[in-house]
């Protein structure tokens, strides 16, 4: 009985404590939000003035006492996201002179991973070269979110060391998520093309072959066509599918032959990508081959074939009309559906 009474008392105390936390927390939030808003209004003009007159940092430095430091940093970071070129450089100088860069570098060593994450993100926006070395060290952080923020920031700084780390990371399935690396690489633009092409080798691992092929398509690297064609006979289904997709994105006539071969692949997902790519090429001499895939056993292949025909000019449209009267119900269904979409002015592809 005594235990039960203790339990009841403990529960009551717990409830009261939690209610108090909820109410006090909310009131504190309201109070601090109001204070931050007041401080923001006070400092915003100084910060905007700083953008017009970068050398005039004195007044704001004097005004930034410890309590206001965070408010000013927020305003500066928000402004810096919108800036480019010379203005961005001025802002970097301001971050350095006000000690924010040093502060964030220090935060990169914090025990709390979310502080390290915030620091890595902010350093990318501050764009100071003082942060290159610490960011490179942060690429080995045990938390993936922090590692990715660090490499993304290195990318923002235009650091090639970040690229090498990322490309090596593609191989490491346990530590890095492929799609997130790809996202950062795509954002880096054309400078990384030669490096990507050099890694499109059949001797690399499956993951590397797949991701580099995918990157070649997204970045539209035309030098990659030849190595991609070499990968079209890869033993891995996913690699072949991605190669077909990449060749479709590149849309170069030299890949017609290999795409025709991929349209006869044993795997339906590869055939589906290949017929889509053939449609994207816009080459009239592929119409006959695409028509033959309209009777494929797989729905997606038939669907993509019909959509491709709708993109192959008058000849493709004629072929679609003929197919819509076909005796084969599957062929007829795929062709007549795409023709109906076309008549409504809707795209044939989802």
């Amino acid at each position: 009985m005594l235990i039960a009474i203790y339990t009841i008392v403990a529960l009551q105390a717990l409830i009261l404590a939690v209610v108090f936390m909820v109410v006090a927390g909310r009131l504190a939030n309201i109070f601090f939000a109001r204070q931050a808003s007041i401080r923001r209004r006070r400092f915003e003009p100084h910060v905007l003035n700083l953008l017009l007159e970068p050398s005039n940092i004195g007044p704001i430095r004097d005004a930034v006492r410890n309590r206001e430091k965070r408010t000013v940093k927020r305003i500066l970071l928000q402004q810096s996201e919108e800036l480019k070129g010379e203005d961005k450089n001025h802002m970097t100088l301001v971050f350095e002179q006000l000690g924010y860069v040093r502060e964030e570098i220090k935060n990169l060593g914090s025990r709390r991973w979310w502080r390290r994450l915030e620091a890595a993100v902010n350093l990318g926006n501050m764009q100071s070269y003082e942060s290159v070395e610490p960011l490179i060290r942060a690429v080995s952080d045990p938390i993936e979110d922090v590692r990715l923020a660090a490499v993304r920031s290195l990318g923002q700084l235009g650091e090639t060391q970040g690229l090498a780390i990322l490309l090596d990371a593609i191989e490491d399935e346990d530590l890095w998520t492929g799609s997130r690396i790809m996202e950062i690489l795509i954002g880096m633009g054309s400078e990384i093309e030669p490096e990507i092409v050099s890694r499109l080798s059949p001797t690399n691992g499956v993951r590397s072959r797949k991701l580099h092929a995918e990157l070649s398509g997204h970045l539209r690297i035309f030098q990659a066509i030849e190595p991609l064609i070499n990968l079209a006979t890869d033993e891995d289904v996913e690699v072949r599918r991605v190669v077909a997709e990449a060749l479709g994105r590149l849309g170069h006539y030299s890949s017609v032959e290999i795409l025709l071969a991929l349209a006869k692949d044993e795997c339906a997902s590869v055939r589906a990508e290949a017929v889509t790519a053939l449609g994207g090429l816009g080459a009239i001499n592929v119409v006959e081959h695409v028509v033959s895939t309209l009777s494929d056993i797989d729905w997606q292949v038939r669907r993509n074939a019909a959509a491709s025909l709708s993109m192959l000019g008058e000849e493709g449209e004629r072929a679609l009309k003929t197919a819509s009267d076909s005796g084969d119900p599957n062929t007829q269904q795929a062709a007549s559906h795409v023709l109906a979409l076309k008549s409504l002015g809707l795209p044939a592809r989802a």
Binding site: L11, I15, R26, S179, H337, L341
Partner: protein, 468 residues
């Protein structure tokens, strides 16, 4: 001798109640850490970058509709306004007998096109296929009535994208919810197979142009209690199960699945009363038997708003069906119970659901009757009754308070302090009558299941513009 046995039974009831509430506390603790971690992860997420990413997966949003004339136009418009780079909305009219199809045709300028579906999953005959000239990403499938599972299967057959998002046609999905709920697919594409979002109560909120413009509490008691129930069920129940990869339910109102895995697992089971839970359990079973590495997530941030019943009769019918659906799903997959090859699902998730979800209404009801009878016979005294009630009420109330705290620590959806206090107060009040009533509905659901009742309770919708 008999007195001793009855007294022993009373003590057993007390222990059962303590165990069930103890397990809830454990889930609450797990959820606390999981919610905070999630909030910190997404704090620096730049959603604009995700929208622009060419790697974002395409999503087919499936909205099965049966006699949804009152809400269908608003719901579909809200779906078409979702912020997502690559998606289509597939409305499946499941043989409605009201004006649902006519409303769709006139509101969205639908044109009949040849039927184009990949019949991989079983469903009733598709009678019509429509596309909108105004909204290129809207597809309407008109089919013979076959139930929700059947309609969802038809939607999957018509889907063009690798992910399918199952929703209720009478729910409202928040603008960025699809972006948020698909994040794990972008982050862990190799292993993520399903993700569920949170369902919140729309009653009491202001809704403008298919969007919740102001979050508020319902003025009526019944929806208010359900607001608390939903917070508790989702914010700590599902978050906790997700943290140990043992999520057995992803709500039918808002869940995203990998289409290929759903098809491989056999799709939604026709005639199922709890098709959402049954699919999730079957996907677990399929993937475990194939020895595949996979994860299912519940995310507390992507929100789907739903209108909840406002009358006791409708609520009772809904809870009865939920209970029958739960039993049905568990019985179909009972072979997974306590089998180590199904990992945490077989050893923790399934036993928990059998003991604390499936049997709990019967045990609770028996417990209540037993305590009252024992008191009448003089076997237990008033002190014991007081202790029994106090433990039940205080445990329940502290769990509710805990979930309100979680809400406050994470998402701050309710703008006023008074609303938080009302929620906490309702957490106490629900134990005085409502909880017992709910137990009765669920116990009746158990009996109805044994009798073979497979009827779906039809819920009358008032439409989002009228739910305040």
């Amino acid at each position: 001798m008999l007195t001793d046995v009855i007294f022993g039974l009373n003590i057993s009831m007390l222990v059962y109640f303590s165990l069930i509430n103890g397990s809830y506390f454990l889930l609450l603790a797990l959820s606390y850490f999981a919610v905070l971690k999630y909030r910190r992860q997404v704090e620096f997420e730049q959603w604009r970058r995700v929208i622009q990413s060419p790697l974002t997966w395409g999503v087919s949003v499936l909205a099965p509709a049966f006699n949804e004339e009152a809400t269908i136009q608003e719901s579909v418009k809200s779906l078409l306004m979702l912020e997502y780079p690559k998606f289509e909305v597939i409305v499946v009219n499941d043989g409605s007998t009201d004006g649902t199809m006519d409303t769709l045709k006139t509101s969205f300028e639908l044109h009949s096109t040849p039927i184009d579906v990949d019949v991989k999953l079983p469903c009733q005959e598709i009678q019509g296929f429509y596309r909108s000239s105004e909204y290129p990403n809207l597809i309407v499938v008109d089919k013979a009535n076959g139930g929700k599972a059947d309609a969802l299967n038809a939607g999957i057959n018509a889907a063009n994208h690798p992910l399918v998002c199952a929703i209720d046609a009478d729910s409202l999905i928040e603008g960025r919810a699809l972006l948020k709920v698909t994040r794990p697919f972008l982050e862990k594409p190799e292993t993520t197979v399903a993700v569920g979002g949170i369902v919140r109560v729309a009653n009491g909120c202001d809704i403008t142009d298919g969007r919740v413009s102001r979050v508020g509490l319902a003025p009526r008691f019944l929806p208010l209690i359900q607001t608390v129930e939903y917070l508790r069920a989702f914010l700590f129940g599902r978050v906790g199960w997700s943290a140990i990869n043992s999520l057995l339910i992803i709500s039918g109102a808002f869940g995203v699945f990998r289409k290929d895995v759903v098809i491989a697992a056999g799709g939604y089971r026709l005639g199922s009363l709890g098709e959402d839970m049954e699919l999730v359990v079957r996907m677990h079973r399929y993937l475990r038997e194939k020895h595949q590495k996979y994860k299912m997530y519940f995310l507390p941030d992507p929100v789907c708003w739903t209108e909840v019943p406002e009358t006791l009769t409708q609520l009772g019918r809904q809870r009865n069906r939920w209970q029958r659906g739960l039993i049905d799903s568990l019985i179909v997959h009972k072979t997974m119970l306590l089998k180590p090859k199904y990992g945490t699902i077989g050893l923790i998730g399934m036993p928990y659901f059998f003991v604390f979800e499936m049997f709990s209404p019967m045990v609770e009801l028996a417990g209540l009757i037993l305590v009252v009878v024992s008191f009448a016979l003089g076997i237990v005294d008033l002190k014991f009754i007081g202790l029994f009630m106090a433990v039940a009420i205080l445990f329940g109330a502290s769990l509710t308070t805990g979930s309100v705290l979680l809400e406050e620590l994470s998402f701050h959806r309710f703008p006023k302090v008074s609303e938080l206090l009302i929620l906490i107060a309702v957490g106490f009040a629900e134990n005085l009558g409502y909880r017992q009533l709910n137990t009765w509905w669920r116990a009746k659901g158990c009996l109805d299941y044994l009798k073979g009742n497979t009827a779906w309770a039809r819920m009358e919708r008032r439409g989002f513009s009228k739910i305040r």
